[in-house]
């Protein structure tokens, strides 16, 4: 299956990636090959196989509604580029 330049551009936009024309061509070729490889699975008869949303057979993993300590604010302050008056500073959000 051919992954065209428009597909590449769409995926790049959704992932907020900026690609050069050269890269678009390169990835178009690579992704097409990957998809072709995965397409092989279609050769299998899966009519009797249930969809598997999960690979483990666990279900109903819950926790109790009990408060535990949050992390100190200073920890957040250290991991973000800018912190001011208790808030994380981000580029202006345009409404």
């Amino acid at each position: 299956m051919k992954i065209g330049i428009t597909d590449i551009e769409k995926v790049a936009r959704l992932a907020r990636l900026e690609l050069s024309e050269e890269e678009k061509n390169e990835f178009s070729g690579q992704l097409s090959k990957i998809i072709d490889y995965v397409e092989k699975i279609k050769e299998l008869d899966t009519s009797n196989v249930k969809p598997a949303e999960h690979i483990v057979t666990l279900n109903n993993v819950f926790r109790k509604d009990e408060v535990k300590d949050s992390i100190p604010r200073t920890a957040i302050e250290e991991m973000v580029p800018e912190f001011k008056n208790g808030h994380i500073v981000v580029p202006k959000i345009i409404e």
Binding site: H54, K64, I71, I76, G86, K92
Partner: protein, 481 residues
Amino acid sequence: MKYEPVIGLEVHVQLNTKTKIFCSCSTQFGAQPNSQTCPVCLGLPGVLPVLNEEVLKKGIIAGLALNCEVSQYSKFDRKNYFYPDLPKAYQISQYDMPICKNGYIEIPVENGTKKIGITRLHLEEDAGKSIHSEDKSENCSFVDLNRTGVPLAEIVSEPDMRSADEAYNYLQKLKSLIKYTGVSDVNMEEGSLRCDVNISVRLKGDEKFGEKVEVKNLNSFKAVKAAINYEIERQVDLIECGEKDKIVQETRLWDNDKQITYSMRSKEDAHDYRYFPDPDLPPIVITSDFVDELKKLLPEMPDQKRERFIKEYNIPLYDAEVLTSVRQLAEYYEDVIGYGANPKKASNWIMSELLGLIDDPEKIYEFPVSSKNLAELLKLIDDNTISGKIAKSVFRDMIETGEEAIAIIDKKGLRQVTDTSEIESIVDRIIANNPQSVNDYKAGKDKALGFLVGQVMKESRGKANPQIVNELLINKLKGES
């Protein structure tokens, strides 16, 4: 109007658990910004979200209150998009297997009730809060992640509503139902209830829906109503002008100051969320036993209660609707009856004397007149200790002092005078002092009687039994002629 709007609502309700949906951070409202976060809700690499069992339970209870089917199998999915208040760049939500679906609620309409379908109820996490600087020169915004991961139930209605009033009544009813169950505070001001509107307009009788618009940023029920009416007008105008193609599928925001909606100028690639099952969260299997246990936690719901009130207490539909709209109010009413008051009188008093004096019927138990004291007051009217009119003034004193009715009545000497001879002497005096009115009455002017009754009542400071006054006056006046 030859057009009709088609309206559906998406309501987000915050479930009132102690901790967030996938981590143990507190959900307490009003904490210092960014003081209630952890690696899970911050979306740091390598963390494992685990579902809060209480969220699942409360979500199902909400679904049951909305007459939904509970799914036997449910799962969580990732909804991918970029926004500064969403640190993981995906929201954990439910896509194709919500915990509840196919419900309905009944709303009051002109002649009876109308069923509004509930498409689904699903669980998801809230995003953080972004704050826009008031200083325009500052080229940044601020983010508080305390809300990130707060549990929400999103309730999606069918496009069943046909007017702003129906949408308003749907919200009122939804709020009342959820409130009854106690799984959410459903307070729009504190953000525990939020509402988005989907609306299109079509010619009456058309099967096909028109192009629909989503309206966001609605901060009150009133705003929802106003925004819907604005959109109906805007869309009908465009159709009428032959500019139907200008109604496009888009998100619009409500501007409460200007009372208009405006386009959010969204990028064309919006709404490609690439949902996929969240591999961190195992699926949920819900057994009928589990659901049955939760059903036991449901209180009597307002619709059932309303019907019972009408049957048991013989009160009008409207009164029953108001009294059952808030759980605490219904309880107060039944307490008053429990203390021996006449159900009809109790309903009348609560509706006409009491409700106007309180801002929030949920806090009726903080009202200075307890259900017991109100019942005692009403019983004193029934046994003729005081008249209905005096009772109103006693009631005002009770509110001010918190005292019992009988104490106020005795202290102020307000017992109704039923002693005929005492009333008779007043009647004689009034007849003697008002010859003009007496003549008017004899000349056939019935109004004069009312005046004379009023004078006697005034003279007795409202304590004379009005019925006895009436009888005595008529007898005396007739006897004189």
